[in-house]
Amino acid sequence: MIEALFLLYFLVLLATLVFKSRIVTGPWLFLLRAFFPNWKFFHATGNVPHLYARWALPPEAPSDLLQWSDWVHVFPRRPRRLLHLFHNADTNLALVQQNLVEHLAADLNHMTADADARALVSYQLVSRLVCQSLQAQQADCTHGQFEVRMVLDGPMGFIQEDTMMRSPVLACR
């Protein structure tokens, strides 16, 4: 009897991979999603959102146009240490920032045509991330702007990218 129940349990799990059901969403379900883990890690390749940003120094005269830097890729890379098995705060913080960009991309995908992205919490947090990141590179920068680009990589590296959104100019001070 117990064997049959276990078998049934794992068969039901397999069935959930084949038969897709409606996705239920809601603010509390999002915040408490840890109670409903799907255990799908690194399962699918495809387009991945990447964050690009650029900065501008304050214009010398109010009528001057902003002079923008080149776009820079805001993407975490960290040196590897064995001790990080025990304490890896910096890397984990960088990973959660990358997750934030993925949440923004998902939120943008689900937005209605008349909605304003600036109202999204993920947008506001990414804006802060961009300003912090740009000011770490260029302390004097007063303006920033970012793009979310969907990047497709293959085993040999970059294949293609599409710009999903470009933000308005952000005041970084």
Binding site: W39, T45, H87
Partner: protein, 264 residues
Amino acid sequence: MPVSSAVRATEVLLALSMLLQTLEYLRMRQALTVQGLWAWPVQRADIPAGPVQKLLDLLFADRAMHGHLLLRLPVLLLLAWHGSDLALAVFLFASHVLMLIRWRGAFNGGSDFMTLVVLTGLVSAQLVQLGGDPDLAWRAGLWYICLQSITSYFMSGWVKLMQPEWRNGHAMTIFLNAAIYGPLSASSFLRRPWLARLGAWAFIGWECAAPLALLHPLVALVFCTIALLFHFLVFWFFGLNRFFWAWLATFPAILACSAQRVFW
């Protein structure tokens, strides 16, 4: 592994895992302040307006948050040293859920989920104990943790098996290239297609076969040993140190449940 030993091992490993998490949270607390990236005044818009939002405003104020994290340290040491009781288990459960909400549902994905699983097993066992047989209560708690852990490997393996990029080994190279310690060097041996395919199939096969660990304690021991190596590699290539400790805390449950020999 006897149930009592498995319970103690689970408590100690959970305490270690959460202690490491707490020390990391304390290290990054600047990011959670009003001036930091993850400022609560911005994030509170995630919470529907009402009394819960007001309560969270109090709990997530900078000083309260810092105090909460500091309080976790002695509680976790108590868990490791003395073992759990209902109050301690409920505090850690509530504390973990609060931290998940503070990080918009998850800080480190799967490791948060698995930590919650172990805490749920602990709280359930404590609650069931109130009504009667402690041995039955702990068996139920351990089986819950064990099943969730086995499910995590099983689902993770089968979902990969269904993806052609995993079956041909491409996915492994793509994910390693995009990892926080990446990209792979041009001459990396992991770029060899046959090796990527072999590695992918080895881990898919092992993950899909996870339920077999319940058949015999020896199979469970081999399974957990491979799992340890697997999680170390995940840490080494992707920086996910918390996964290592969160899943390690479930291994005593797997070993104890396999020893109950329910299938033969």
